[in-house]
């Protein structure tokens, strides 16, 4: 179930993007009569043929429910599904494949930790520490558990450049803090947070840490052991795989001590009306029939990323970010929100006189797909005093032509609203 080996580097080691783009069928389709410049990978990435084929092949050749059937099809499905744990273990450099829990996505992973890990530990007056740049999915689950337990949500402020205020983080990390949940890479600002340092500081205070990896897993190398965190969640659909499939990695000692998140089939050892004995992790957290083909294809998405090379992807996206920053500086009245020195390929901006929604529509007509809105980070929008921004975000398949198309289309916006 592995992707074919690809040689997508030039002699200098840089990505040969033109060759890579051929792996993504949708990129060959014109959009509104133009070459598609897909600049919304932070929302969801496009899929390479290998991922599409893997999902199709599962249904065409060997699909059956997993863990239950004694027949060959079920065994093959089970093997393919369970095999993905090994891929994820390697992808995250996790110590043990039993620490890999399959979820519907990052959101479910965070909710799982909030409900199964944090909730039983929280008392009235305790605190959960998050940052001001969290996505709604790393805010609302913590609001639910703090409201239910009488604990309090504490927010570390963000600086004008878009960095977590580390002095404030140190100050707020107090004896009442029982959990830290922090985004690795901000989907709105692009900021890469110093999660290794933040985890070390939290651990010094005896506080466990969850890292929201939705935006880091597809773009930069991730090593949960080096990071030192307790939990790391990411989504298949942002790592070039299908939607509705994701991963929660958690330290085995935590997972073993956590009660199940949901009850149902496949997460039990024995069920009696008098009581149920739960299965060991990770099955304990995977009640019901999961997204079998989707999870198998998620594994192929991760293998695809590995085959291209995460260092190379990160370097390529950095180069593109620098080029885009330079080109966007040409546009009068454009202000980038989020200028942290450690930044991934995400550019949020506002343009004087033009609302992000109008920018999004006009860019679409020019074949440029961007996100316009609050990016599910409404508190962050308030922090910067804007209702919404336009956001261009990169994937491994983007190139300078995409940036040029963005700049050209923004000049069109100025023709209307300048």
């Amino acid at each position: 179930m592995s992707t074919r080996p690809v040689d997508v580097t030039t002699a200098g080691g840089a990505l040969e993007v033109a060759r890579l783009r051929e792996d993504f069928p949708v990129l060959a389709r014109p959009m509104n009569g133009q070459r598609l410049a897909f600049l919304d990978s932070a929302a969801s990435a496009q899929k390479p043929q290998a991922v599409i084929d893997a999902e199709r092949r599962c249904y065409e050749e060997y699909y059956a429910n997993i863990h239950r059937g004694v027949y060959a099809l079920s065994q093959r499905s089970t093997q393919a599904y369970e095999g993905v744990r090994k891929t994820v273990q390697r992808f995250l450099n996790a110590p043990d494949e039993r620490e890999v829990v399959f979820t519907r996505g990052t959101t479910e992973g965070i909710n799982l930790v909030a409900q199964s890990f944090a909730r039983p530990r929280l008392q009235p007056g305790d605190e959960v520490l998050i940052t001001g740049m969290e996505h709604h999915s790393n805010i609302v689950p913590w609001q639910l558990v703090t409201e239910a337990t009488g604990a309090k949500l504490v927010v570390v402020p963000v600086t004008d450049r878009g960095e977590v205020d580390l002095d404030e983080y140190r100050r707020l990390l107090g004896p009442r803090t029982k959990m830290v949940a922090v985004v690795h890479v901000s989907n709105t600002l692009g900021t890469i947070n110093p999660v290794t340092d933040m985890t070390r500081l939290a651990h010094e205070a005896g506080v466990p840490v969850l890292v929201d990896g939705a935006q880091s897993a597809p773009h930069i190398p991730v090593d949960v052991q080096a990071m030192g965190c307790d939990f790391y969640a990411f989504s298949g659909h942002k790592t070039y795989g299908p939607s509705g499939a994701g991963v929660l990695w958690g330290r085995f000692e935590h997972l073993s001590a956590m009660p199940p998140y949901q009850g149902g089939g496949d997460m039990i050892r024995t069920v009696r009306f008098e009581g149920t004995e739960y299965a060991a992790p990770p099955q304990r957290f995977e009640a019901g029939t999961p997204n079998i083909a989707g999870t198998i294809a998620l594994g192929v998405g991760l293998e695809y990323i590995e085959s291209v090379g995460r260092e190379r992807i990160a370097a390529h996206e950095q180069e593109l970010l620098a080029y885009a920053d330079e080109r966007l500086a040409e546009i009068e009245g454009l202000r980038v929100i989020g200028t942290a020195p450690e930044k991934a390929g995400v550019i949020s901006f506002v343009l004087k006189g033009a609302h992000p929604h109008d920018i999004g529509t006009i860019l679409d007509m020019e074949g440029v797909a961007i996100r316009a809105g609050h990016h599910c980070t409404q508190p962050l929008m308030e922090r910067y005093g804007v209702a919404a921004t336009a956001r261009a975000s990169f994937g491994l398949y983007n190139d300078r032509d995409d940036v040029d198309a963005l700049v050209r289309a923004l000049h069109r916006v100025k023709e209307f609203f300048g």
Binding site: A354, D358, A387, A388
Partner: protein, 148 residues
């Protein structure tokens, strides 16, 4: 480019740049806040009905895209002096125009008809109708409305 001109007609650009009735109405008899969670657009509609049930004054405030701003601006301009029933009828006809694929041009809608182009952009229909939904909420004495 021609498609864009069809959506962003001069009338829309003009009302976006110089919105009419962009002010509070004091005193007002009705008020509501509208919110589009998709993009964060917010609008507040205030109006005052006279004894005969006609809209004596109407104004809006808020922050929105060109489509929602123009829609609110034209709406306030065209409904002044009309009865509540007439306003509701106009909304129904406008809603039909921007949501029904088979809708024919409706000259009786006047200037607001320039927004017919949003029909081809389903995500933008909410922008075009935000102020209208908010007006309806105000008339029904609901305090707020969301287009979600």
């Amino acid at each position: 480019m021609s498609d864009l001109r069809e959506l962003y007609q001069e009338v829309i650009l003009d009302h976006n740049k110089r919105p009419r009735n962009f002010h509070p109405v004091e005193p007002h008899s009705h008020e509501a806040d509208g919110y589009n969670p998709l993009c964060g657009d917010k609008v507040t509609i205030q109006l005052r009905l006279d004894d005969a049930g006609r809209i004596e004054d109407i104004g809006f405030q808020g922050d929105g895209c060109a489509i929602s701003t123009a829609s609110a601006s034209i709406m306030t301009e065209m409904l002044k002096g009309h009865t509540v029933d007439e306003a509701r009828e106009t909304f129904d006809r406008f809603h039909h125009l921007v949501t029904d694929d088979d809708a024919q041009p409706d000259p009786s809608l006047g200037k607001i008809g320039v927004l017919a182009g949003v029909r081809d952009y389903p995500m933008r229909v909410k922008c075009a109708t935000l102020a209208w939904h908010t007006l309806q909420a105000a008339l029904e004495e609901r305090e707020s409305v969301s287009t979600e």
